[in-house]
Amino acid sequence: MEQVSFTIEKGEFVILTGPSGCGKTTLCRCLNGLIPNFYSGDLTGELEVDGVNVEGKSTAELATHVGFVFQNPENQLFSLSVERDVGFGLENLGVPRGEAIKRVEWAMRATGVLELRDKAPHELSGGQQQRAAIAGILAMRPNVLVLDEPTSFLDPKSAEEIVAVIAKLGHELGLTILLVEHRLDIVSRYADRVVIMDGGRIQLDGAPREVYNDQARLIGIGLPRVTMLAHLLRKEGFNLSNSITVEEASNDLRRLLLDR
């Protein structure tokens, strides 16, 4: 990463995307102190998360401020049952038992793993594992949630459900969310902002419909297919907005087809 500067306001839902190897995961690891605490390297600059200066803080201290969901759920599940896994973080935080049980139940319900509570993580499919991992983080109710491609292992329907749950929780609890994603077709409707990185730098930063432009396409961003179609038709001289959802694109095209 080089010269990365940005601010995310409290309660904002921000998507971070960019080509593979562009520095997305590296940036996320800085936010919860994994860098420099667990990965060696040279880190300069200033970083504040949830009002806390990250420098010199342990990853454990930061865990109460920022919850982190990894790309691969296998890396963060280890207990004998889903329920214990979801409760593990709370136990470590010293949350009273009654409250912990309530939160675990709530988090498992929110992510759709309630009926899997007694299963061992290795008995679950990749998608179920990721839902359990997200539940464990949600249960700690951090103010900031960083999710590194959390839908990668999910089937499309589950992916859409999880993203909707994340957005809803973000909205209801005022969570600040940084979501690393390639599947912009699913997540764009929820995003206040999209930050696009390439070559370790931030290249574009703005509302989805503003940044889903030719530059983004050339960087190699997989724009929502309806946005790509709008680009193609605009090139042919038709007046279409930069739709980011199927609904918008449908309205635009219906108008074009029926106006003639």
Binding site: S20, Q128, S152, G220, I221, G222, V246, L257
Partner: protein, 283 residues
């Protein structure tokens, strides 16, 4: 040819994962196996290289049953790239990773060097030749895992979720690579949730749900069937949903990718022939 006949499977003391599955993948055919989380997709493809043997039924590669051969023997013909690259990678450098199997198979150092160089290039990994696979990003590690299998030129290639962590340009590369492999007469099977990738590649799609094949046919057909798509926990491609929302939907029902949509829509927008039909509802 990969031939699966009446295969059922359960893990020891576990529930049944596959029920009476029949599937044939011909040489030079490209198949995407899709279905909900836990449908049995990964279990099924682990049968193709002999990692798992069917409890009932047979799996045969080019006419020889996998039961009669070791995993090492079957793997020479069937390369399986795991969903999680970390299950596969272990060498100190990317170059060593790619050369490992070739050395095992007894290729000469000269051939090894040529093949490794060529596959580093093919998978856009040249700049990481001397790097440890473990310092690479998730998407890059997946490409190393893919290169490490393709390098020994297996007759059939199975990829479990190859697009995870890949950006759009890398997916384009992967699509071209698959086309190239198919044209060499290899059977290519991918397991994927990536509906948009499938919409662009348009392979034959086999839908697996709760261990049973519930659909098998061209991508355009399967991915636009609302009932099947829902049953397998998939979503229709965005373009398919969009086309269904438009007038003249009857003629566009099987359009699933951006470029076909443009080609279909352009003349209709220009002449206004979209006005005669009423919109069709999407399930």
């Amino acid at each position: 040819m990969i031939s699966v006949r009446k295969v059922s499977f359960n893990y020891p003391d576990g529930p049944q994962v596959l029920h009476d599955v029949n599937l044939e993948v011909k040489d030079g055919e490209f198949v995407a196996i899709m279905g909900e989380n836990g449908a049995g997709k990964t279990t099924l493809v682990k049968m193709f290289n002999g990692l798992l043997k069917p409890a009932k039924g047979t799996v045969a590669i080019d006419g020889v049953e996998t039961k009669e051969r070791s995993v090492a023997q079957v793997s020479r013909d069937v390369g399986l790239i795991f969903q999680n690259p970390d299950s596969q990678l272990f060498a100190e450098t990317v170059t060593q990773e790619l050369g490992f199997s070739l050395r095992n198979f007894g290729f000469s150092e000269d051939v090894i060097q040529k093949r490794v160089t060529s596959f580093l290039h093919l998978l856009d990994l040249e700049q990481y030749a001397t790097a440890s696979p473990f310092v690479l990003s998730g998407g890059e590690r997946k490409r190393v895992a893919l290169a490490a299998i393709l390098v020994w030129d297996p007759k059939h290639v199975i990829m479990d979720e190859p697009t995870i962590g890949q950006d759009y340009l890398q997916k384009e590369r992967l699509r071209n690579l698959i086309t190239q492999l198919v044209s060499q007469g290899k059977s290519i099977v991918i397991v994927t949730h990536d509906v948009e990738f499938v919409a662009e590649c348009k392979p034959r799609v086999v839908l697996l749900s709760h261990g049973t094949i519930i659909g098998d046919g061209p991508a355009e057909h399967i991915l636009t069937d609302p009932k099947l798509v829902d049953q397998a926990s998939l979503k229709m491609p965005q373009i398919a949903i969009l086309m269904n929302n438009l007038p003249s939907a009857d003629r566009s029902r099987e359009i699933i990718d951006v470029y076909s949509a443009r080609d279909f829509l352009l003349p209709r927008i220009r002449t206004g022939t979209g006005t005669t039909q009423s919109p069709q509802k999407v399930a």
